[in-house]
């Protein structure tokens, strides 16, 4: 039997606390599209995506309506294009990006991810061509997202790829300079990238996945913040319990949506990603959760500890609620997408160094951070190297998505609108890291990668 209190609690989470399912993402393998001619490859990719995901949006919309919870985004992730493009040139790759954009628009999804490469140990010719094409591909498409994995705990850090990605990010910014460098908001550099992540910009359909899969990303920072506020002045043990119970309920909704979507689409259920994903809306902020725990402003001393506890409790609560958990599964801290983070950065209380420390205890990394437009490629590469090192040494995913907005400097801001939000330009260290980045080669895998 349903009781009134439970019913009202659920309705209140949706009405007042921004509870939603962030995304239903259909992962689609493109291995069966491989062809020796790029035009033929593009045709097969278009057909495979539009056929497999034909009903994704209507089905997700009907689930949304029937169970009464918003499903904010419907997305597609595909096999990393570098693995199917073979002998392509950068121009061929851009053509594939246009094809992805067109296929995604045809089925009506919000984003398509997988325009990327896995180069943690070295680069194939195809990977290199694809990476070289990223600036043009992101400038010429609307909803294609790109990710490049440059390191893993097993392989170490491919510093040649790190150096290259610094230059690619600068070029991508330059090519989308008229739109506040929005290309960079769709480009992320990873260490230990998960292969079933439904969240953008890093979603792709990994090489060990089945032909297609439904992966669901949950959300709900507002629900957790309100639960903490209601709990009042309790000890950390009790606080952790409050978060766990809330995460359990949020995840059960994700599990329900994943199960229904899988059943109705006839596509196997992959995973539920237990992430707290903020939006720029008021009341949907991870920073505000940390502040509800007793910090005056997110970014002050105590922030890393608060985030560590939050991240851990979300996983402990969520893991019991879902049969398969995967993806990134942790709290996200994208600056431009979180009203509390934006405020903390604007008043100078949230520094890039603190954000870096925070990424050691949560997913994912230095995310949606606007930096001065005159930042050199080498400095961006060094920033990536630092962040990636945290992931490699701690056997976790880390990532960098920074926006060096051309012509802008500290005191200015960039504005993307929608879920991507806006961000003040944050200052970076100015002494050069160029000689360090110029060394090239690989940083060897850490000793604890040798587990066998």
């Amino acid at each position: 039997m349903l009781n009134t209190r439970d019913i009202l609690e659920t309705i209140n989470m949706i009405r007042e606390e921004n509870l939603d399912v962030r995304t239903v993402t259909a992962g689609i393998s493109l291995f069966d599209c491989v062809a020796d001619d790029n035009k033929r490859l593009c045709e097969k990719i278009y057909d495979k995506i539009t056929k497999t995901a034909e009903n994704l949006v209507p089905v997700a919309s009907s689930i949304e309506k029937e169970i009464g919870i918003p499903i904010v985004n419907k997305r597609i992730s595909v096999t990393p294009i570098s693995l199917v493009c073979g002998n392509a040139t950068p121009d061929d790759c851009v053509e594939i990006a246009r094809t992805l954009d067109r296929a995604a628009a045809t089925v009506g999804v919000n984003f398509i991810g997988g325009y990327g490469a896995l180069v943690q140990k070295g680069m194939t010719k195809g990977s290199e061509a694809l990476i070289d094409s990223i600036p043009d591909a992101l400038a010429e498409t609307n909803i294609v997202c790109s990710s490049v994995n440059v390191a893993s705990t097993k392989a170490g850090i491919n510093m040649d790829a790190v150096a290259k990605m610094g230059r690619i990010i600068k070029e991508t910014a330059a090519k989308t300079a008229d739109r506040d460098a929005i290309g960079c908001a769709k480009l992320v550099v990873f260490a230990n990238v998960p292969e079933d992540n439904p969240f953008m910009a890093g979603a792709f359909h990994g090489i060990g996945e089945s032909d297609c899969a439904i992966n669901v990303g949950v959300s709900g920072p507002g629900v957790v913040a309100k639960a903490i506020e209601r709990a009042g002045n309790v000890s950390f043990g009790e606080l952790s319990d409050v978060i766990k119970k809330t995460a359990f309920k949020i995840t059960r909704v994700g599990q329900l949506v994943a199960y229904e979507a899988s059943k109705r689409l006839g596509i196997p259920y992959g995973i539920v990603d237990l992430s707290l994903a903020p939006t720029p809306a008021i009341g949907d902020s991870v920073a505000h959760i940390l502040e509800a725990m007793g910090l005056e402003v997110c970014g002050t001393h105590g922030t890393t500890a608060a985030l560590m506890m939050l991240n851990d409790a979300v996983k402990k609560g969520g893991v019991m609620a879902s049969s398969h958990v995967g993806g990134l599964s942790g709290a996200f801290i994208p600056v431009s997408e979180d009203a509390g983070m934006i405020h903390a950065a604007e008043i100078g209380e949230l520094s890039i160094e603190k954000l870096e420390a925070m990424t050691a205890v949560c997913s994912v990394g230095l995310d949606m951070i606007a930096i001065p437009g005159d930042t050199t490629a080498e400095t961006i590469s060094a920033l990536i190297a630092d962040e990636i090192a945290i992931g490699v040494a701690n056997t976790k995913t880390t990532a960098v998505r920074v926006i060096p907005a051309p012509g802008k400097t500290v005191g200015d801001s960039v504005e993307f609108g929608g879920l991507l939000g806006y961000a003040p330009i944050m200052p970076l260290r100015t002494p050069s890291s160029a000689a360090f980045i110029a060394r090239g080669g690989r940083i060897p895998a850490p000793i604890h990668s040798l587990k066998n």
């Binding site: 439970d6 019913i7 009405r15 169970i67 919870i69």
Partner: protein, 89 residues
């Protein structure tokens, strides 16, 4: 199969009549009603059996939302599955 119809808003005459009229039109059988009035606000929760409905459930959701709009109330029809998922182990 059951659904929950919730009505939240300012109290006014005839709310239950119009919501139950809409249920009858779709062939949804009301099995339980609880309501409370707090100051001038009204909260009603209705459990309805939707297994013998004569139209798709999604049309019922739309009709309830529409009725809410017309009467200045928030009316939602949600499938029981979401409440079971969140509150039952």
């Amino acid at each position: 199969m059951k659904a929950v119809v919730s009505v939240i808003g300012k109290d006014s005459i005839g709310i239950i009549a119009s919501v139950s009229g809409c249920c009858a039109e779709f062939g949804a059988n009301i099995t339980e009603i609880t309501q409370s009035v707090l100051d001038e606000y009204f909260a009603m929760i209705m459990i309805v059996d939707i297994s013998k409905m004569n139209k798709p459930f999604s049309d019922f959701v739309d009709a309830m939302a529409e009725l809410g709009k017309k009467s200045g109330l928030e009316i939602r029809a949600m499938h029981q599955d979401i409440f079971d998922a969140m509150h039952r182990i």
